[in-house]
Symmetry: C2
Subunit: 358 residues, 2 copies
DNA sequence: TGCCCTTATCGAATCGATTCGATCCGATTC
DNA sequence: GAATCGGATCGAATCGATTCGATAAGGGCA
């Protein structure tokens, strides 16, 4: 009696075929009645939708649809950190925002692929139409190659250029050089650097030539090089990430010795710079009178008021958008070109000439 | 000549069948040679993998695999905001972290479904094995129902309970009541509230009975109720989100009139509380001597030092983990039960008795 | 009336793998 | 030496939809 009223076995979800049968139309017509692009009379569509409602059918199975269509409606976002760490960084959030804005026409979701070591299997096995690599190191080359073989469009932001990956880069080096020159023009000579992590395994440490040589993190290395272009032997400290607290710890270290105290600190991110300023406050060092501080990124740091950080404003949302647009274009068969973005110097109130020598 | 050396038409990706043909084995054996659970001799497996390498085959197509297996290896995360806003909230990040930790055994990726108004189609059309709703309002009921019809396990954190959704809740009301009682015990009588958004459409405004009545945001409403249990007619201000800057703006408004100034402020999140403290600093009001401030969440607010916020520490990571575990269990056919989490009172140095009346 | 063209519907092939049950073969056991 | 056993391999069905080309029915035009 219930041979067609509610599918075969109880508990089994109804399929499009079941709906079609109940509506008395063919399989293909039923398909058309849902999203399809094809002529269907209003009466028929209504009949199909009614049948669907009666059978409690929730619409075509996305899995089957994506197999047949060859599109899954998913764009992968690969980050080389734990989710929590990755998205505490406002720059990454801004990227994500621009990205999701630009891929809106795809009607796609963003699949978060946090590369937590062993589980890089996800990356190769997830069904996605395209992928964005955010700040990824060459360590992922293998996974990336697998995606590439699969013909998946790949876009990288802030990463080591790799084969077949469209890279959207930033003028990390020249921008940092510009800000360093600003400091030199003000008269600074003893400058220190608070750096982003140089490698995937993070630890706090004084900046040493060895550490610098072994670094794999593109962004940090380029910004370091930019600073070195102007202050070749500035000392510094490597942090474990772009957080205020990290900047504070690094600065306390760098400012500890009153005799060898730098007059300016180049922080590789605004969050780090904010931490440097906090540390200076704690130590009773006036910013900018006794210590100039510059950052990088141009993100509004929540609660830094009344300081207006001198920094390099990078077009993060725009970078994300560009990556998104590139993906849309590639999926449409186009061949977008890589773009290089430039940061804009923002003069705030955290830099000034160094204090006169005693 | 290239009838089998590299698939049919140039540009077409090779399929498992092509690999099998080239390796001289059957379709099914080739499948087994990849991840499969079944006996394959080492020699055969090697032959298949070699053929794959030669054809530049990147492994089984995830789309086909997920159709056949009935699992897509994707867990959806639904938030009712833009990505950027959602994840500026450290609590949500912590949830996400706990979640991704707990679902590790599934080897699944997290599909971000930001509900940006019109595009709620994503939610219904994405192929996922389970979904987590984070802070979602009843507005999504329709989409949720669609998922439910599809038989997808659903878990909600911080949301309105809905049919067929397993809810992991927090003692928002009683915890807030506890902290309010702490303030009353200290002698406070003029207390104000800085509230999270009450509705999806956000705007800054004085808290009014109308606004309260129309609210749809579970968390905000419950915390409000908890405060009202102790201070029935406390005034307040509604913000547009859990950000330091929002707390600052709200507090400037609430502290503007020196004659009607509250002696304590209950902020509905730690970030808001941090903003309140900043505002007090700006206005020259001493915390806690002249103004007590309490928060909610127990997140380390970057850069709040030297204040140690009196707050309610909620087990955010643990909530995420619980949701993840529930999903794993449901996918294995189990029937986990809903859990209610409790927050822990943390006494910091931001509360004190009110100043003596002049 | 006859012809052509459009619109609505249908059948069947297809997307690319997984998996169940059957078959085959060499090795062990009595 | 025959019966049995178990591991390796194969065929074929299946997952659930989409889509192309074909067919049929109706409408307009000559």
């Amino acid at each position: 009696m219930n041979d067609e009223s509610n599918g075969r076995s109880p508990g089994a979800r109804p399929t499009l075929a079941a709906v079609a049968r109940r509506a008395g139309v063919s399989n293909s017509t039923a398909s058309l009645a849902f999203g399809g692009a094809g002529p269907v009379s209003d009466a028929t569509r209504e009949r199909v939708l009614t049948a669907a409602r009666e059978l409690n059918y929730a619409g075509p199975d996305p899995r089957a649809r994506s197999l047949r269509r060859g599109r899954s409606g998913i764009v992968g976002v690969v980050v080389e950190e734990r989710v929590r760490d990755a998205f505490r960084d406002p720059i990454k959030l801004a990227l994500l925002d621009g990205l999701s804005e630009a891929i809106a026409p795809l009607d796609a979701g963003l699949l978060l692929l946090a590369d937590t070591g062993a589980a890089s299997a996800h990356i190769e096995d997830a069904s996605m139409d395209a992928a964005v690599l955010i700040g990824c190191s060459p360590r992922l080359d293998e996974s990336v190659a697998a995606l590439w073989r699969r013909g998946i469009p790949l876009v990288a932001i802030e990463g080591e250029p790799a084969d077949g990956v469209l890279v959207f880069s930033l003028d990390n080096r020249s921008a940092t050089r510009a800000v360093a020159e600003h400091l030199r023009a003000l008269g600074h000579e003893r400058v220190a650097i608070v750096a982003l992590p140089l490698e995937r395994v993070r630890r706090r440490a004084r900046l040493t030539p060895e550490l610098e040589a072994e670094g794999t993190s593109n962004t940090a290395i380029e910004r370091l090089a930019g600073a070195r272009d102007v202050f070749p032997d500035a000392g510094g400290f490597v942090t474990t990430g772009s957080f205020v607290e990290e900047g504070r710890l690094a600065a306390r270290e760098l400012l500890a010795d009153p005799d060898a105290r730098p007059t300016a600190i180049i922080a590789q991110s605004d969050l780090l710079a904010a931490g440097v300023i906090r540390a200076a406050e704690e130590l009773g060092i006036a910013v900018p009178a006794e210590l100039s501080v510059v950052g990088f990124d141009g993100v509004r740091v929540d609660g830094l008021w009344p300081y207006d950080l001198t920094t390099l404003v990078q077009p993060a949302v725009e970078k994300g958008r560009a990556a998104g647009r590139a993906i849309v274009e590639m999926l449409a068969g186009g061949h977008p070109v890589a773009l290089a973005f430039t940061s804009e110097f923002h003069l705030g109130n955290t830099t000034a000439p160094p204090p006169p020598l005693p």
